[in-house]
């Protein structure tokens, strides 16, 4: 207690000592201080067993033998024998230890594929982590919109979104812990190496996790206590802090994955030669950070959209339907808006992968993994078709949409045609007889549609078509009142036309009539055209509809079928995330850490797409069951049992 008292004196709070809150704060502070003191005293160098693995010493028993000797009190202390093993590094050489090269027998065998276990647990952790990190990002924006518009519906919706993410948070931590145990159990040498490389950064991660928990709980539970006036700004600041900590967590964890793909800060043999910052900022770190940041928002938006759809389908009153229809619309808006720039972030990532190692890039895009981009096309096609279908269905909410409904069939035609081009494979594995019948290894008409230029045209046109649906939807319940409406629309049409012509011309001319270098360059032109449409569309509409005359929209007036489109989105996103994780991990081929630490485990091959697909389905179904459980739990909290009638 005297220590506590001293602490209060130190902070000038002695006279305000109360047995309640202040004591709690003081104890928390003390615990944190103790944690730091302990952390600073802790020896983070490798323990002898890790050193044994690292130095490839077989006889672990020799290392773990006692280092001291018992002697009778009073007798002279015996001279200890030299226990330093030949292969055990001294403190000076520790930093220059090469990466361990475990042999197959060094991998524990528990009778089930180690990779499959880690695969499932890691994917579940990633799904939940992506969700809980993404939700506060757009919740903060929605809360801010609520403050600006003074519309309490935004605040309520943001609070409800957070409620869903709270249950997911504890599950994230549980899967994270399980993943750490699984990795240390099944891949001890690899984890020993990763601990050696990342060293105390892992403790920073642990600390960030505590900070994230604290921010999350305070942010959620203080929602109503800090709802109005200046207090609301305190709450918004808490939300900002939560997102800063969450995003830092994300980028720290990303550095482990990108180090495995493109190690930096280590020698060719894997010895640590750089600082932790040099190790973290590998060539793929920022592209992955951006890609995951955006993808998480799209994924989070899709999952809360599914929640809204579930609540809409369960709702019994028109008021509830209207609320959840609006919530579903907002969630879909977030998901699609975040999804649109995602291919460009993916493009940057792949460009950096090619720059780091052409071999790695081709393994992903043109080698053994090329086939799974057909599955990716099916998934992204599903997402775009479902997103568009929901927007078209949502147009029925307002009479003003009749001005635009004639365009839907053309948009649908473009989407379906481009989708078919995207899924057309290039190289077919054929028998000699089939090859003879076909007159070569490629079909003379479908072959050209199978290569990247055709797919680049298709994906860019699909994105433009989706943005058009989105723009029409946004315009449906308004009438522009500005004098330059016609000129603005003409400009918009011209931008669409020029962008579409540019995308097709660049794809066809540079894609089929020049060499590979220009093919890659032309895709930049195509991406720029698509971005031009999106950015100019947002800007023109923002000015054109600033003081527009609203046309009444009836929330809740949407078909049940449209709600299933909101379920198709998270299902496809979930499967897609796992598929891209499979690609990202597989490009390392038979390396734990590319070019530095070989994977000699029984699972060191790239699994076939069918096997991978089955694994992805398992994790997707597991996640869906968890999501439905979260929805159910969230609804259960709203239920209240009636007071039982007194016994007669």
């Amino acid at each position: 207690m005297s220590l506590l008292n001293n602490l209060f004196v130190l902070f000038g709070k002695r006279n305000n000592f109360t047995p309640g809150g202040t004591r709690l704060k003081a104890i928390s502070f003390l615990l944190l201080a103790l944690l730091f003191v302990t952390a600073s005293q802790f020896d983070f160098s490798l323990d002898p067993i890790q050193q044994a693995y690292a130095a490839d010493v077989d006889d672990v028993a020799e290392i773990t033998k006692p280092v001291g000797q018992v002697h009778v009190e009073g007798d002279p202390e015996p001279v200890l024998e030299e226990t330093q093993l030949e292969n055990t590094p001294t403190e000076e050489t520790n930093e220059l230890l090469a990466a361990p090269q475990p042999k197959r027998k060094d991998y524990p065998n528990i009778g089930v594929s180690s990779r499959s276990i880690v695969w499932i647990i890691a994917q579940m952790h990633l799904y939940l982590a992506a969700f809980v990190l993404a939700v506060p990002l757009f919740v903060l924006v929605i809360e801010w919109v609520g403050v600006r518009t003074k519309d309490e519906r935004y605040d309520d919706m943001a609070h409800e979104f957070m409620k869903i993410s709270m249950t997911a948070y504890s599950l994230t931590a549980l899967f994270g812990g399980a993943l750490a145990f699984a990795l240390f159990l099944l891949y001890p040498q690899f984890m020993a190496y990763m601990m050696r490389v990342f060293n105390t950064q892992t403790l920073v991660y642990a600390f960030l996790f505590f900070a994230e928990s604290a921010c999350l709980y305070i942010y959620y539970y203080s929602w109503n206590a800090l709802r109005y006036g200046d207090r609301k700004y305190v709450h918004l600041t808490l939300g900002l802090l939560l997102n800063v900590v969450g995003t830092t967590l994300l980028v720290v964890a990303n550095s482990w994955a990108t180090f495995m793909m493109a190690p930096s800060g280590v020698s060719e043999a894997g010895a640590v030669t750089g600082s932790i910052w040099e190790i973290m900022k590998g060539p793929l770190w920022n592209p992955i950070n951006l890609h995951r940041f955006i993808a998480n928002i799209a994924f989070g938006g899709a999952v809360v959209g599914a929640y809204a759809a579930y609540k809409f389908l369960s709702a019994k009153t028109q008021e509830a339907k209207a609320h959840y229809d609006w919530m579903g619309y907002t969630a879909n808006f977030i998901a699609i808006l975040a999804f649109l720039p995602l291919p460009f972030a993916g493009y940057w990532l792949m460009a950096e992968i090619y720059a780091y190692s052409q071999q790695m890039g081709i393994t992903a895009m043109g080698g053994i993994l090329a086939w799974l981009f057909i599955v990716q096309a099916v998934l992204i096609g599903t997402i775009l078709l479902a997103g568009n279908y929901y927007l078209w269905s949502g147009m029925s909410r307002t009479e003003g949409s009749q001005r635009y409904t004639w365009m839907i069939k053309y948009i649908a035609f473009v989407l379906v045609t481009c989708f078919l081009v995207w899924v057309t494979p290039h190289t077919l594995i054929l028998s000699a007889a089939e090859m003879k019948t076909l007159g070569g290894s490629h079909h003379h008409l479908l072959g050209p549609l199978g290569i990247m230029p055709a797919k680049n045209i298709a994906v860019n046109l699909m994105l433009i078509a989706t943005f058009l649906s989105f723009q029409l939807y946004r315009r449906a319940d308004k009438v522009a009142t500005v004098s330059w409406e016609k000129a603005g629309n003409a400009l918009m049409v011209a931008i669409y036309a020029v962008a579409i012509i540019n995308i097709i011309f660049a794809g066809v001319y540079y894609g089929y009539f020049t060499n590979t270098v220009y093919k890659v360059g032309s895709s930049v032109m195509q991406v720029a055209s698509t971005l031009l449409v999106i950015i100019s569309g947002v800007i023109i509409d923002a000015f054109m509809y600033k003081d527009a005359k609203p046309i009444p929209a009836v929330w809740g007036k949407i078909s049940n079928r449209a709600q299933y489109a909101l379920f198709a989105l998270p299902v496809a996103f979930t499967w897609l995330m796992a598929l891209m994780g499979y690609v990202r991990s597989s490009v390392r081929t038979h390396w734990h850490v590319y070019t530095v630490m070989k994977d000699n485990s029984p699972d060191n091959f790239i699994p076939a797409i069918g096997y991978a697909g089955n694994m992805l389905t398992i994790v997707t179904i597991m996640f869906l069951l968890i999501v439905l459980f979260i929805f159910w739990i969230a609804s259960l909290g709203e239920s209240r049992q009636k007071i039982p009638e007194a016994a007669a």
């Binding site: 042999k103 720059a355 081709i362 043109g366 003879k436 060499n515 496809a572």
Partner: protein, 284 residues
Amino acid sequence: MKIMARCRGHVLLNILAFSLALTLVFTLVANILPQVEGEAPQDEEVDLGALTMDSFISMGESIFSGKGTCTLCHNSLGRAPDMLVLNMVETANERIKDERYQGKATTAEDYLRESMLEPGAYVVKGFGKKGSNDTISPMPVVIKAPILLSDIEVDALIAYLQVKDGNEVTIALPAEAPEQDAEAEPEATEAVAVATPVKTAEEAINKYFCAACHTIQESESPVGPNLNNVGSRLSVAEIRQSIIEPNAVIAEGFAEGMMPQDFSQKMTVSELELLVEFLASKKQ
């Protein structure tokens, strides 16, 4: 309240059924695509005593499309010069004389070796790293990770590149096993060790690179006839004949002269019998 609970249960079941159906569609697509596994490269054991120039070249060809990962970039898609189309000896001699050449090679053999060990010595126009103005090569050093070819494998690759266009092979056959680092772990290196005779049919299939052209076990290739059902098509005597005298009978739809003609000199009697017995049992 009961009605609400029943309604929610009903909705949950519908959602679950819809989501499962959609997931199964994706699974189906993944399963109908060609199923190819990416095997980690295996350390091949070479019997130096039994090594002939033909098998050495065959080893080079196998490395070219396998462990060396050369065909990832050196193909018709334009990522790197298409070495299967170019006569690499003539090309090497031209490049040595090119004013942009910065290496030390004087012969085609030296140039080919140098291009694998020091790819930056000559960067072919249009194939340099993006933004380097063809001064930096994207080609990895083949004796370093992730490829890690041994000296013998580099030599075999050069021999293959020389002979594929009918040029003379200037590489000498490796006479003895390379010196091993006494302290190095045998499994941790890529060094080639002297092998004992194969003991199983699978080892013989690997040794003679049957899977390079034939579909056999998990490996698929359309160049030669499928061997997974050869036992139902051919008798034991016919299988034996097709190995030691491949041109005696040509399977329908396949060209003559594709199969190596010298297995009768290369194989031991026990290896031949292991293979014949194994293939005869393949009646899938």
